[in-house]
């Protein structure tokens, strides 16, 4: 399903880049700039980087700044500390393939603190250029390219599309389990069961991929739900691949992020010592939003030592993650403390406005956003509208692609169509990032509303 559409996927992004170039060159359009909320790219959407992070990184890049009085003391001390961990005292050196050891250690301490004291071991942690790279490496171990039947991986619908790409590129089969839109995208075990059964005779499922908080859907799993998934994975002997990139983006009322690792540990035997788990995090989302630096990590739990050895080999074959990214990881997991001159203040954009506006527009519906960086509203088009859109669309696109294309061209808002993430047959969604500063968010919603009303009128 996804492979064929890959060709169309790139087209929208290319068009958006074209329009951006045209605007830069002064071509006139009904808008002055493109609001790019296509990816979970905070800085691209207008959020500012954290000053402390950038000051430390700048001093690491150009060490003479460490002697500059223009930088706060804690920044200078931290930069010196980070450089001391780099080979040759430079961010230009290769580091150990698994990551700079002191930073890996920092991450393990962070995980331990986050999970209420549950131990985390540095030798189970690997840093890579972005979490996707780690996911690919782990998949590489799980997927047997020569197997018949082929290896299967259960994935949610909707799902983060790049992981789907990684899975299919390795020659494995995706086994979709549908999240329940009517119940705010809840994960139902019966659905996991159904999905697993549908795989019989088609492929051999070895892993279950979960995203919490969600992408593109903005849910945060309850602890009960996490326990259910763990139990299911234990019963069916599935490897748990847990994407927890948005753990710092939780804002729904009564919502709380609890890591899979913590829940697993607290469930006790037989689960805690046997369920195999890989959890992923990165500097790309959350407070830092440093997607462009490319650094993430994976923590592995309950893996067989022989498998760990193999994983170590795979990570060692790659060159290391960019050193600046690794340093950013360290700053993320070991930020300034109260009392430090740079103790950071991070304002999160409230998504309440967003769901209110969207739900007020006819033909649009969206469950309350609890976490993550995206809104994934549903486009409720009548069959007549769907037909009309299909006829008008130049390339016989689906209505959601058509909607996004029109929204980009006419409204200057770059979003992505729901088919890229998977959706129930006959339903259409769009995804856009909501981590933008208030004024940009307001402008986005204004343009979206205006465009939407016109679109619904034209295609009703």
């Amino acid at each position: 399903m996804w492979n064929m559409k890959q060709l169309a996927y790139g087209a929208l992004a290319r068009r958006a880049n074209q329009i951006k170039d045209e605007l830069r060159q002064g071509v006139r359009k009904p808008y002055k700039e493109v609001i790019d909320v296509f990816q979970g790219d905070l800085h691209g959407a207008g959020m500012k980087p954290l000053t402390f992070v950038r000051q430390v990184l700048a001093a690491c890049v150009y060490p003479p700044l460490i002697n500059s009085n223009n930088l706060p003391l804690d920044v200078r001390q931290r930069a010196q500390k980070e450089l001391g961990r780099c080979v040759g005292g430079s961010v230009g050196s290769y580091s150990a393939a698994a990551g700079i050891p002191e930073i890996v250690h920092s991450i393990s301490e962070f995980i331990k603190r986050r999970d209420g004291g549950i131990p985390s071991h540095p030798e189970n942690i690997y840093i890579s250029p972005g979490s996707q790279w780690s996911i690919s490496n782990i998949l590489n171990v799980l997927v047997n390219r020569e197997a018949s039947p082929r290896t299967g991986v259960l994935i949610p619908v909707p799902c983060y599309n790049i992981t789907v790409l990684s899975i299919t590129q390795l020659g494995a089969v995706t086994v979709p389990y549908y999240l329940s839109e009517e119940q705010a995208w809840a994960l139902q075990v019966e659905e996991l069961q159904r999905a697993l059964e549908s795989a019989k005779g088609v492929c051999s499922p070895v892993a279950l991929y979960v995203i919490n908080p969600g992408n593109p859907a903005g849910y945060v799993q309850s602890q009960k739900s996490v326990q259910e998934v763990i139990r299911f994975a234990w019963e069916k002997r599935l490897f748990l691949l847990v994407d927890e990139l948005y753990q710092d983006c939780v804002y729904g009322e009564n919502c709380e992020f609890v890591s899979y690792k913590r829940t697993l540990s607290e469930m006790g035997p037989p689960f805690s010592g046997t369920v195999e788990l890989a959890s992923f995090h990165s500097v790309s989302k959350g407070f830092l939003g440093e997607c462009g630096l490319r650094a993430g990590y994976v923590e592995l739990v309950n893996l067989d030592p022989a498998v760990m050895k193999h994983i170590h080999t795979i990570f060692s074959k790659d060159s290391c993650a960019p050193v600046l990214g690794q340093i950013a990881l360290d700053l993320m997991t070991d930020p300034p403390k109260p009392g430090d001159p740079s103790y950071p203040l991070y304002k999160q954009v409230g998504p309440e406005n967003c769901t209110l506006v969207i739900n007020s527009l006819p033909g649009f519906s969206c469950p309350p956003l609890e976490g993550g960086l995206f809104a994934f509203p549903r486009l409720n088009l009548t069959p007549k509208a769907v037909q009309k859109a299909k006829v008008t669309a130049e390339m016989q696109e689906d209505p959601d692609t058509f909607y996004c294309t029109r929204l980009l061209e006419e409204g200057g808002v770059f979003t992505s169509p729901g088919w890229e993430y998977g959706q129930k047959e006959g339903t259409y969604h769009i995804r856009f990032c909501i981590a933008a500063p208030q004024d940009i968010m307001e402008e986005l919603l204004r343009r979206l509303s205006s465009f939407h009303m016109t679109f619904m009128k034209d295609f009703s």
């Binding site: 880049n17 700048a58 150009y62 996707q132 960019p322």
Partner: protein, 435 residues
């Protein structure tokens, strides 16, 4: 294994253990910062400002640094190095690279044929993955030089390709021998389908720099046998042998007859990890794809989507590498001094090491004309060979182990696929003090 031993020794030294040397000199890797070489100031200054744009107001940075940083930030989404870029790289940087190639070769180059990735290794991986097909006897094969860089084994194996080594001629300074190419190809046909030939020029780890005639021969061979040319030109800036000059495969190709120039498929690789820039830790490189079907080119971009984007600071470093300060710019003098010093160091080291090694009994070293390594051959006495066998090690590995333990020098053992009865070690010549 040698790396682990080196780590242990470093630890012991830091805990006060007595050794015949004060610290381990690591010349095993091509990492210049590991070898105490300084970074290029202009590059680091521009990057620092890009990382923390408030530095634009800092008086300590020269004007050209600020102007350049501003220009680069404009090319980034949200004017931040923290934003994703297009999967194939920032358009601005791809354009800079195209212009650099055009200036270097006098041949047109287009941004859309240039793909930026997290290091040239990643680029090579993508290229070979797209090439890979078939099973059993029909599996795709790639001709690779023996010796060749280590990483090539990993990359090709992971992509499921068959390695078809062709021996380089040590006695001729590790030159490429057409007969050996034919031999390798002939032997390979039947158990795989050779579809590409990889070559590194300047050579890694050999230090050989091909002359025009040699490059033409390889191109003609590739054309006749319908092989894709994978030209790893990462060390193009480090040529110091007398009367030697780097000429790119692309330039030579375009100066051969028209039919060849329009049909031979070539991908050339470069990165910021080597050369005078040496920013291995920033992770960025590029490939230029020549004479490839546009539909295939589409898939380069598509495959890169899996990595989402290359580290932005690395991409900016690429731009600074291909577009350095010009005469008249405030940073020009310092830039020239620094890069000149690096090249002079390499050149001097290459000569010193060559002379010294050739004086030692049992060591023969071809002159290194370019690149960052020397690759001397060890004629080891039987005693050490026997001992090595007992320990289950290759003799050159054992030699390196002893070198590390007794003299504190970490060199790379010759595990590069050269002929089985010869032993070599690989040493980087970037380290200016310790050598």
């Amino acid at each position: 294994m040698l790396q682990n031993l080196a780590e242990r020794i470093r630890k012991d030294i830091s805990l006060g253990a007595q050794k015949p040397f004060k610290k381990v000199i690591d010349v095993s890797s091509g990492d210049p910062h590991r070898a105490d070489l300084q970074h290029v100031s202009f590059l680091r200054q521009v990057l620092a400002v890009c990382v923390h744009p408030q530095l634009l107001e800092d008086k300590c940075f020269p004007l050209d640094v600020k102007i350049r940083a501003q220009k680069l930030l404009e090319a980034c989404d949200g004017a931040s190095v923290g934003s994703y870029t297009a999967s194939s790289g920032l358009r601005h940087v791809r354009q800079s690279i195209a212009e650099f190639i055009k200036r270097r070769d006098g041949v047109p180059s287009y941004a859309q044929n240039i793909f930026i990735s997290a290091g040239s290794q990643r680029a090579i991986m993508i290229a070979v993955k797209l090439l890979a097909s078939g099973e059993g006897n029909t599996r795709t094969g790639v001709l690779i030089p023996a010796p060749c860089p280590h990483m090539l084994y990993n990359v090709l194996e992971e992509a499921g390709l068959v390695l078809v080594p062709y021996q380089l001629t040590e006695e001729k300074g590790w030159a490429v021998d057409l007969d050996k190419l034919h031999q390798a190809l002939k032997a390979a046909r039947g158990n795989c389908e050779p579809r590409a030939i990889y070559i590194s020029n300047p050579g890694n780890p050999t230090g050989h720099v091909q002359d025009r005639k040699s490059i033409e021969e390889v191109i003609q061979f590739a054309a006749a046998e319908r092989l894709l040319l994978l030209a790893d030109e990462v060390y193009q800036d480090s040529v110091y042998g007398k009367d030697r000059e780097f000429i790119s495969y692309k330039k030579v190709l375009f100066e051969m007859d028209r039919e060849l120039a329009e049909t031979v498929q070539l991908i050339s690789f470069h990165s910021i990890s080597s050369t005078c820039i040496g920013e291995c830790g920033l992770r960025a490189g590029y490939m230029e794809v020549v004479n490839m079907d546009p539909e295939v080119i589409y898939y380069f971009d598509n495959t890169l989507c899996g990595d989402i984007s290359t580290p932005v600071t690395g991409q900016l470093a690429l731009d600074l590498m291909v577009n350095p300060p010009q005469p008249g710019d405030s940073s020009y003098d310092t830039y020239i001094q620094e890069t000149f010093f690096t090249l002079a160091t390499m050149s001097r080291n290459a000569q010193l090491v060559h002379e010294l090694l050739n004086k030692l009994p049992g060591v023969r070293c071809q002159p290194a004309l370019g690149g960052i390594y020397v690759f001397p051959r060890l004629h080891l006495p039987c005693g050490i060979k026997a001992q090595a066998k007992l320990l289950g090690l290759k003799a050159d590995v054992l030699y390196c182990q002893k070198l590390l333990e007794e003299e504190g020098v970490l060199a790379g053992a010759g595990e590069h696929g050269e002929m089985t009865d010869s032993f070599h070690l690989r040493s980087s010549i970037r380290n200016h003090k310790a050598l």
